[in-house]
Amino acid sequence: MRCVAAVSEWRVKLVGRPKDVSCPSVVKTQVIDTGLCCRCMACMAACPAAVRTGVGFDFEERKHVCVDCEICVRVCPRLDYKPLSGIGSYIKAVAGRSKRFKGQDGAMVTEILMSAMEMGIIDRCIFVGRDEDWRTEILHVRDVEQLEVPTLTGTKYTFAAAVPALREAVLNTKVGVGFVGTPCMVSGVRRLQKELAVFRRKVKLVIGLFCTENFYWDELTEFLKERGVDIKKLVKTDITKGKFIATMTDDVVEFPVKELSAIMPSGCRVCTDFSAVESDVSVGSVGSKPGFSTVLVREENAKEVLDFIREHGYADFDEVSLEFVERLCNLKKKREANIK
């Protein structure tokens, strides 16, 4: 699957930035300091210095190890930010419930990825699990048996470094990689695919999740602690009908989602993409009955997977009402006013 032409001289296009400014400071001043950064970490997935030195998402520190390759400037989806909004184009919209897997709602993300793996489109995919403190951790799933980890399914409402993990998966895969992430992560992956051919060839299926906002782990846990949630006992978090519901082993805490806006990251304040417009297929709970997931099929590759699921009877399908999805899309579109 590699390019046939092997060359000993090649060119890389430069971005065209002022000579005395290093590329981390371009990102720092134009994205992070202006509050546009959405923590998709596409810059970390491509940064050669981060790979070699192990420097994390810290642009102050990254300045010292930068090798001036400009890849972070090229892949950042929020640098010259063109906000996407609305429900986007789609081939069809269905509600689905997996018969094989159990999840927060219909477990359709797991079902689509595992079916794609069965079809041989992909040979690995990236899941986000959590530890007992609800910190996110990345799992490279290469076999259905790995899904027995109970913490894999369910929403975490916390940022995860899934895109940096994608780099490793892309370099090691033989067939292709399946990716699932929030709309901003999907945009980051699309930018990576636009700039780097290896991502274009190897990322075969991108699933976007419906997303209103996401939170930093330390702020969210601090907030939940104030509300009397014991993180160690927490088993499930969910947002339904304007309420944040934290289910613990012995208790349930509920409060209106609006209270969470105090800790909403600045990158989410300027995000207008609810339905992951750029993804191959979008999945979320909004718009379908309890126990079902809404599936918006946007691209042909995702349609093939859905047909495969239907053929094998891996899932139940139901009608979907897109009014709710559209209402949330419009609600999120109002955040355009926050972009300076």
């Binding site: 092997a6 050669p48 780099r167």
Partner: protein, 248 residues
């Protein structure tokens, strides 16, 4: 099915005498020329084949610092240690080594080679960590052997053949078929132009220059020795080693 009873065959008196005599003869023969297959180490040594996986020797001249031995070691016995010339060379912890010789097989430059030495004694565990300097010289062993032993198979039977003299323990590595390799980029569209390859190249074969609005990366094929360092270090693995043109 009934049980078939076997009857004792009738032997003649002459046969019985003959077989008894043969048994006594074998007993005498074994008493004077015992037919055992035990090697009497340390007075004699078994002659091992040349590809025996024994103590590993290191040739610093051939090492290209690729760390492949440390990466491949399944027992994590090999650690790279920084030398005064800022390069890293392997040390082998023989307390961990399982003598699989993956390191020898994977060594790109042929710097690691095997010996037939299998009897190095250590006073304690810490001593078993062989530093690079120790690996460059064969270890000190006590040799009391005056003859070496080979197993030969004769008529479905294993016999020992003892030969006077000492067996050689330091094996000369077999001549390697050297291929001249050269580094190429087979996925220029995935190159970030980070310059890692140019940094690690020891022969200054890769150069990066800015021409107009493009960054141009050139591999000087005349200077490239095909060591593969850049291939290993490239963060997006766009480089590859290929046989030099005109070679089989």
């Amino acid at each position: 099915m009934g049980i078939k009873r076997l009857k004792m065959p009738e032997y003649s008196f002459g046969d019985k005498v003959k077989w008894h005599a043969a048994a006594v003869g074998t007993a005498f023969k074994e008493a004077f020329f015992p037919h055992t297959v035990t090697v009497h180490y340390p007075k004699e040594r078994r002659k091992f084949p040349d590809n025996f996986r024994g103590y590993i020797l290191f040739d610093i001249e051939k090492c290209i610092n690729c760390w492949q031995c440390a990466f491949v070691c399944p027992a994590n016995a090999i650690r790279m240690k920084e030398a005064p010339n800022k390069k890293y060379y392997p040390t082998i912890d023989y307390a961990k080594c399982i003598f699989c010789h993956f390191c020898v097989d994977s060594c790109v430059g042929g710097a690691l080679r095997t010996t037939k030495i299998h009897d190095v004694a250590y006073a304690d565990v810490n001593e078993m960590l062989a530093e690079t300097e120790q690996l460059m010289e064969p270890p000190e062993i006590v040799r009391e052997d005056r003859r070496y032993v080979e197993y030969v198979i004769e008529e479905d039977d294993v016999r020992l053949r003892r030969v006077k003299g000492q067996d050689y323990l330091l094996v000369e590595p077999p001549p390697r078929k050297e291929y001249s390799m050269v580094c190429v980029c087979d996925d220029p569209e995935s190159c970030t132009g980070c310059g890692t390859c140019a940094d690690v190249c020891e022969h200054y074969a890769i150069s990066i220059s800015i021409e107009g609005e493009y960054k141009v990366i050139r591999i000087d094929t005349a200077r490239c020795t095909g060591c593969g360092l850049c291939v290993k270090e490239c963060p997006l693995r766009v480089l590859r080693l290929v046989r030099r043109e005109g070679e089989q």
